[in-house]
Symmetry: C2
């Protein structure tokens, strides 16, 4: 089936309403570009003022255009847009682009106007891009509908492109286009989405996922209006081994503020986006040059590798600097296998280095045979995934033939950095070697790219689980912790040895059965933070201590909060050794159910040491989340300390996530704090658990807890 955006993104006929004969005006520039670059479809300038424009017949109105067009470009003011859309539609136009500003980005009246367009589009089935956008360009068909001067200042491509641009800003689209052309990369689609009244980022992305002329997408976003659609599109891209490189604005408070005042978009939580990108196989980018270089790397055919890089230089200093920067960027420089070192040692002088970085020394570049041997051996050892040669100017020139030859023989990413003026750059590029002119740019592109190459293997293995239905019915909310835990236990969460008691005598009987020491808690659906109310007593050694604690507890609660309903007492067996985690599952406004895990407490907040993941999780994804915590070494057994039950912690995370996915929408959030992770092999139990309703007003302590986990 043809995608509904086809008439918009691959039109065979275009009408420009509000056409101008001035190539500097928005009604003129697209016509000039269409004619200059040889668009093969039909072009219909429409304006009663002119009889011709750029050598084409100009039509007085859309009604006189002799055929229904695929695409009508509206270069007219905001107030005139809706009537004109109706007229175009009644003349059979399948899609339209609205340049005009003055809609939702402006004020209330503009918002109302935009809603009318949305309604018209929904009812009529017309595909409307914008409003408030710069237009589009299909560079493979030269279907230009954008007023972007970058098409005049950058040399036009001669070959078909496989890289598409999809941005929520026209200026960003132009900036990226200019940089891609500087790298001589041809482009497929140039899309800026504007206000996304009818077609949003996710729908365009889905089109590009299905577009045979797109292999790589460079995306810029401020907000995602359709999170689930975005996730589906990412999975489509992934299934076809296409790549999305995305820059998300609003990483800082100030950036988010700028996004908000710019488009009234909510930037969303940066860490949530980052986690979602990782799970959705997206490469996250930080600036434009980096994105253009990531596109170039992704166009090379070597995506099977990972983060292990061999560095070759002719200078120990350059090797050391590159090692520092690569490792800081998350890459690895593994020691080379003894056999490879032996090959290198045969020709590298004593003052060189056969480790990694390899310093072949300046003399060796004069011996192309040995250079070929070195490259050959690094390009074929299974100990590395990529080879980077840092050789300035003429030194690179001397090695160029050997590099090109080896690059063509081995399916491995080979990159060169030339901070000099090497003459061989084009020849190396022709051999599919990535040639960088700047060390910083090389690191900023290779770091995320090779990390992604490694991660995508895991992402590929990550099948979306269908979480089980729970075994217990959802208790009425708010629920006390025993009810909450019973519900969660139905998804496989481990609970402590515990029982609820109606009175102190029953509590003593339970404690006798469980064995001392025990923990006593007040059981109430209305006290989320028991400690502050004196409603928790730890480590009670015997019955006397239990009775005394119970008496104190009931007195202090009655004094402080005479209003609350008390469901009874809860007796838990006191846990001994273990490590506390906090696990929270909540519904993200963009990505839906998400899980967060951290160590809990004030230090987690200060160090912002939390991991996030889209739900449902499988155990491997839960393990990756835990490994993403900086405190993970403590769980594994740090410096001879005992190891804790990481497997059980992962199972608990999966269960908590499943519970939220399965729960009705009224459950906004599930929090287990602490999840008590016992020593290895002994499990992980939810010592406390909360089910929060969507409309629950959290206590202040609660709010600060959640801030810690945000």
């Amino acid at each position: 089936m043809t995608h509904r955006l086809e008439p918009l993104l691959n039109p065979s006929s275009i009408a420009i309403i509000g056409a101008s004969t001035d190539p500097g005006r928005i009604g003129g520039m697209p016509i000039e570009l269409l004619t200059r670059y040889g668009y093969a479809g039909k072009i219909y300038p429409v304006n009663p003022k002119y009889s011709s424009a750029f050598g084409l017949e100009c039509w007085p109105d859309i009604e006189s255009v002799p055929q229904p067009v695929d695409l009508a470009v509206l270069a007219i003011g905001a107030q005139d847009v809706l009537p004109m859309l109706r007229r175009c539609r009644s003349r059979g136009a399948k899609s339209a682009i609205v340049y005009a500003a003055g809609f939702a980005e402006q004020n209330e009246a503009g918002m109302a106007l935009q809603r009318e367009i949305e309604e018209f589009a929904a009812l009529s089935g017309m595909v409307v891009a914008g409003p408030n956008c710069m237009g589009l360009a299909n560079l493979n068909t030269q279907a230009h509908t954008a007023f972007a001067s970058v098409f005049k200042t950058s040399p036009m491509q001669q070959e078909p492109g496989r890289v598409s641009l999809l941005t929520q800003s026209g200026n960003v689209c132009s900036a990226l286009y200019g940089l891609l052309r500087k790298l001589d990369l041809p482009v497929s689609q140039f899309i800026n989405t504007g206000n996304e009244a009818c077609v949003d980022f996710a729908e365009y992305l889905q089109y590009l996922a299905e577009d045979p002329h797109t292999e790589i997408v460079l995306g810029y976003m401020e907000q995602l209006r359709d999170g689930p659609g975005f996730m589906r599109a990412c999975r489509s891209l992934q299934q076809q081994d296409k790549v999305l490189v995305a820059l998300k604005a609003g990483a800082t408070d100030k950036g988010a503020q700028a996004v908000r005042s710019h488009t009234s978009a909510l930037a969303g939580d940066r860490r949530v986006y980052r986690a979602a990108f990782e799970q959705l196989n997206v490469i996250e980018a930080r600036d434009f040059a980096q994105m253009a270089w990531l596109a170039r790397l992704a166009q090379l055919r070597h995506r099977g590798g990972g983060r292990r890089v061999a560095v070759i230089t002719m200078s120990g200093a350059l090797g050391a600097i590159l090692a520092d920067r690569f490792i800081e960027a998350g890459l690895e420089l593994p020691d080379l296998p003894e056999a490879v070192q032996a090959v290198l040692r045969a020709g590298i002088p004593d003052y060189g280095m056969v480790g990694n970085p390899v310093d072949v020394t300046g003399n060796v570049v004069n011996d192309p045979g040995f250079v070929r041997t070195v490259l050959e051996s690094l390009a074929s050892t299974p100990a590395v995934d990529a080879v980077v040669i840092y050789a300035p100017g003429y030194m690179l020139d001397r090695m160029a033939d050997a590099i090109a030859e080896v690059a063509q023989r081995h399916p491995r990413l080979i990159a060169a950095i030339d901070t000099g003026q090497a003459k061989c750059r084009d020849a190396l590029r022709a051999a599919e070697v990535a040639v960088f002119e700047d060390l910083g740019v090389a690191v900023s592109a290779l770091g995320p790219y090779l990390t992604w190459c490694e991660r995508r293997k895991q992402v590929r293995a990550w099948a979306v689980r269908v979480p089980p239905a729970g075994a217990a019915a959802l208790p009425p909310l708010p629920a006390h912790e025993l009810d909450a835990r019973r519900y969660l236990a139905g998804f496989g969460l481990q609970c402590p040895q515990e029982a609820g008691a109606a009175d102190v005598d029953e509590a003593c009987a339970i404690a006798g059965r469980l064995g001392y020491p025990v923990v006593l808690k007040l059981l109430s659906a209305h006290v989320a933070h028991k400690t502050e109310l004196g409603a928790v007593a730890l480590n009670l050694a015997d019955e006397a201590a239990l009775r005394a604690a119970a008496q104190r507890m009931l007195q202090s609660v009655r004094a402080a909060r005479p209003d609350i309903a008390v469901a009874g007492l809860l007796v838990q067996k006191m846990e001994r050794r273990g490590m506390e985690l906090i696990v929270g599952a909540r519904r993200d406004p963009v990505f839906g159910p998400m899980l967060t895990v951290g160590m809990g407490g004030v230090l987690t907040e200060i160090y912002q040491d939390t991991s996030h993941g889209l739900l449902p999780l499988d155990r491997a994804a839960a393990a990756r989340m835990l490994r993403g915590l900086r405190i993970f070494p403590l769980l594994e057994g740090f410096r001879g300390m005992p190891a804790y039950d990481v497997d059980a912690a992962c199972e608990a995370m999966v269960a908590i996530g499943d519970a939220l996915v399965a729960a009705p929408a009224q459950v906004a959030e599930i929090e287990v704090n602490p999840l008590w992770v016992r020593p290895q092999g002994q499990g992980a139990v939810a010592l406390d658990a909360l089910l929060l309703a969507a409309d629950a007003c959290p206590e202040s302590g609660q709010a600060s807890h959640r801030a810690a986990m945000a």
Copy 2:
């Protein structure tokens, strides 16, 4: 007085021993460069094989050269170097450069050879650069003695330069030179130091500090052989308002390994270097393009500012992205004062932004009068330190006149980012506007530069204190904690309420005097880690508890360690509320006495949350160290929690630092763990203290502690 390096770095006559007529050989290239670029001094090629070279008379040997030369360049093999140095010296040569490799970087024999050169230089007073170096160049006099092909491939400067290069690698020197020339920045000195047998990095740096032709130094280092000399040179630079931008290799283990196998240099601790750079007014850099841009920024005259940036764009998206990147790079985008916002609001449409980033919108660039008003108001408000304009291509062109005009009127750093192809770049540069072509490079240069502008005000205020002599004599080492604390108290360190007791009865009497609860510890110079031995009992509530604890303690210590001498018992009043820090002072092999502070414990190790500072410290520097800790908010009172006595903690840090500076060399390290910081106004006391002798073999627990603080 003339600096002793003057004949080397500013020679008026040069002999090239081992001259060649081939410009591609190391004995030929310098002569070619000297003649090509018009060096005005005397040039004496020396080689019996030729009668002339590059149009100059060639002399058979140094003895026949008709005058004593300032500088002899030795383009001969390692084995011939020493005899030739003797001959040159006896003919009156004041200095020499040794190109040859095969010295300390190679093997034992080379090391011995290098030592001979060192001895000869020391005895004769001859200044010898290298060996194993690429040579030098004074670009202001065109005194070329380097075989660096970059002088042929980069266009030669036409004006005098003020930027000098000082590197421990010839390749790095060339790479930096090429980048500076790309930015059209002229260079003063091109120095690569090689093996530094006789002249080291610090001595060159001192020369540059005194050199009237140097204002900015770009330095690359792998190790510093003379830490105190480096520190002196940095202070000289600072006194003359000169700038050192430094890249230090070995930031990662792999990078440090590469440095070591490259030059057998120890890379040193990265965090110590970073701390030293901050205190010594050095701008730390990460790559070459960044260094070149930092040189350009430092050449502009605006160093008085700070980190507060106003960003102007014509695109909300570009503003948001730039805000994100600047803030991540440590800069601030303050809200603009209401008066400034009012000025902006008068001309910026509703869909623009008058906050910071400012989005003037694409329409406004067509109104140069209003653009000037906006710039004027941002260039003069005291609320910001720098103004950055992000306007691609033609948009920047339209604003160029206004920008240039305002830049010339206001002593404030103004930078532009043009990711398009603006034509106005040169005009803006002429007006002292920094014009970046890449967003990432702009952020990587402006971030550290503006941070440095702010920091240098503090550095300027940082007078080197002369620490007081201690009031108490150093106890024999190893010392028990009471003796250690008495010594430290002499420098002003606060101690807990405590006293030593000979036996249990005396301990009880002391506890009675102090008031319960108390802490009981074993007093012994031979147990650094008391807890593990059961030699600490906390929170003893009464005499019975104290007696029982004392008995248990003595028994368990006698059983576990019958060998150790016990000096008695120590009774301390139990501290109540407080926060623990760990403070260590030790002698860094490069920078000498240093202080480290952190929260202590395993989490500090995991989060690597420590601050380092050169000693002696003053209180303000101690406060900056504490503020550099990520856990600092906890000390200040986080989310309504109590604040602790930060001032007292700073005093304690100063006292511990002073104690190490004043102590004889046998004291290798002083550790206070914990420093107990009481609530605000109540002081900070050293609950435990260790004086470690240089030859002490730390217990294993000790070692792991120190790993945490490293």
